[in-house]
Subunit: 382 residues, 2 copies
């Protein structure tokens, strides 16, 4: 198995991109990544997208995107695992390069959520249609149940949940690609419109359009293209029961735990070695569960850890320096790749006001549904 | 890169499976494949499905299927490239095993088309939404234009198109898993309800439910599980312009040509070495184009070749011995895997009345949309 590096990145601004279609935004991100890497050809391509069928009545987007990037002919495949589609697309690209089958692989993610379908209805297709959605629950409700259980079991407070959003908006305020480049306050979160008690609108990631792409190649060819290749140290995925009612303990995201443990083992490092991480904060409670289940803090202590500022830019382990899904935006299929781009920029030392000092090793954790899919990548600049 | 073998197969009957949900049929096929292979664990899983979101409002089906197969925890990813989803899922499984990342990989495909959405509307999401579908064309119309051009350019006749359906129904009549286990006649095809001139209902593959799964492992471990492992000699994919109006010549399916040429090169053999093939006959004209673009017969001669009986069970190169999409049924995501199962059964000598004598090397060709995606596999029994 060959070592694999990321040699180029490109993304659109995330937000309500009314004037651009799904193919426009993917091509914009793809061309930026190709320019950034300086490659002259692409051997193969993966596109992560959750539900382009329900959102814009367009499946088969891998072939369309290859066509509109001007590279029709190459193998191009779409990957879907709900909100983990982007991260899992990267894993497929990693496997293809590591196998030796192809060298230069473009991996992207895209979602156009502001056209067409009702977003809550379309997103609900990531939950258990027969046992959850049919009975009326949607994602804010599922995560609200996880939040309630976490508060009850571990004493996590309403304020601690709000502080996740406050931190992420503070980071997002200095990210030019973020959907919401503005700060918020504890009161601003708690007093926002109630969505599913205890989660208000400001505990929830938004509906967004956007695309993000990276270029992979074998590590031993990477220096031809860039002075700062970023090596993929680990690429691991896991699944869990789809419906909350089937899980032993809804406060533990087992797929996050499994994918994290496998990734640390593959990379030969431990959570304490990570300098910066992007985790899947689709709701504020999700970030708290993720940092616990990845092992950055003991189970049940994520709220307290956040309140102490340990996940802030100058904390023990800076989390979601990009602004996270909460502030940067969450165009579902693009999210997993945008997380990777933030880590690559941090490891390259290009993160500007959001730069974590001496960041050498970074992690991304991307999740599908209420945690039935999770994928973890670990990166080191070489 | 390690050699890869298929060690087990399982599929449902194809048809209108009103009493079974999408998860029921996938689990049925998956358990049959696991039993057939005799494996005790699965390391990783791929599920090909085109548009489970539009058909049954359920995305994220890889996690659901792992859960309902009782193997939640493992990595599980859905692959989508329209009607080529199944074949491309196999290619991802092949790449994973060849890379050395995992050993025992389940690859399946599924579609539940008789519940919910209007099938023509859902299937149209595989065409170019902005330039084709918006203007009112659907797949029968696209393939009718290809048929008209083929008839005009090469003199292909209405009768020759009908003979594809007649042959495939004859084969399907002895396939216990086929949706339509009955024969038809030239008049039966030509006089059926007109769908898109010159294609009648009997030139079109049907709307179907179904699932199909295979188990892969490294070739050097395969004899532990079966006396008749089937080696994957080649696994190659390609793309083409998504919309017909962008192609130089609509009678040539360029992605089929490219994926076929790559596959023959990878396998180190030529079209004349293939003993039996399953090709993507979503419409009768598609089979004629496919056998030409794969090199089984010269361009423009596919109709004549069919009329001479050269693609029949006792012909020069038996095509679609399973009954093809036309008679076996076409549950979109499952089709690419069901094609592979027919070839595995032929190479194992288990095809009963449909058995091709001395079949040693087989090929499958699975296509997405009006040919913007194509994937070709070549197999040999070892």
């Amino acid at each position: 198995m060959r070592d694999v590096a990321i040699i180029g990145c490109g993304m659109t601004k995330f937000g309500e991109l009314w004037k651009k279609s799904i193919r426009d935004i993917f091509v914009e991100a793809g061309l930026k990544a190709i320019d950034d890497a300086g490659v002259e050809n692409i051997d193969s391509m993966y596109v992560g997208s959750m539900t382009s069928g329900l959102f814009v009545e367009q499946e088969h987007i891998s072939a369309i995107m290859a066509d509109y990037l001007g590279i029709a002919g190459i193998p191009a495949v779409r990957i879907e695992s709900a909100c983990a589609s982007g991260g899992l697309a990267l894993r497929q690209g990693f496997i293809e390069v590591t196998s030796g089958m192809n060298d230069i692989v473009l991996v992207g993610g895209v979602e156009k959520m502001t056209d067409g379908a009702d977003a809550t209805y379309a997103l609900a297709s990531a939950a258990d249609q027969e046992y959850e959605v049919y009975n009326g629950i949607t994602f804010p409700g599922l995560y609200a149940m996880i939040a309630r259980a976490h508060m009850h079991r571990y004493g996590t407070t309403r304020k601690q949940l709000a502080l996740v959003a406050v931190k992420n908006h503070k980071n997002g305020a200095s990210n030019p690609n973020a959907q919401f480049q503005r700060e918020t306050t504890i009161d601003g979160v708690i007093n926002a419109t109630m969505v599913a008690d205890p989660l208000t609108l400001m505990d929830c990631s938004p509906v967004s359009d956007g695309a993000a792409c990276v270029i992979l190649c074998p590590l031993d060819q990477a220096k031809k293209y860039t002075d700062t290749p970023v090596k993929i140290l680990a690429s691991c995925a896991a699944t869990d029961n789809i419906a909350l009612h089937q899980r032993d303990d809804v406060t533990i995201l087992k797929a996050v735990k499994l994918s994290g443990e496998s990734a640390f083992k593959q990379a030969g490092i431990s959570p304490g070695d990570i300098d910066v991480a992007e985790v899947h904060d689709c709701f504020t409670i999700a970030e708290i569960c993720a940092i616990e289940d990845l092992g950055f803090v003991a189970k049940g202590k994520g709220g307290e850890f956040t309140e102490k500022g340990e996940t802030a830019l100058d904390g023990k382990i800076p989390i979601n320096t990009s602004g996270g899904l909460k502030s940067k935006g969450h165009p579902v299929g693009a999210t997993g790749i945008a997380q990777v781009i933030e880590i690559v920029e941090q490891l390259r030392g290009n993160a500007g006001k959001r730069q974590v000092k001496n960041a050498k090793v970074g992690l991304t954790q991307n999740m599908g549904g209420s945690g039935a899919s999770s994928v973890v990548h670990i990166f080191r600049v070489v």
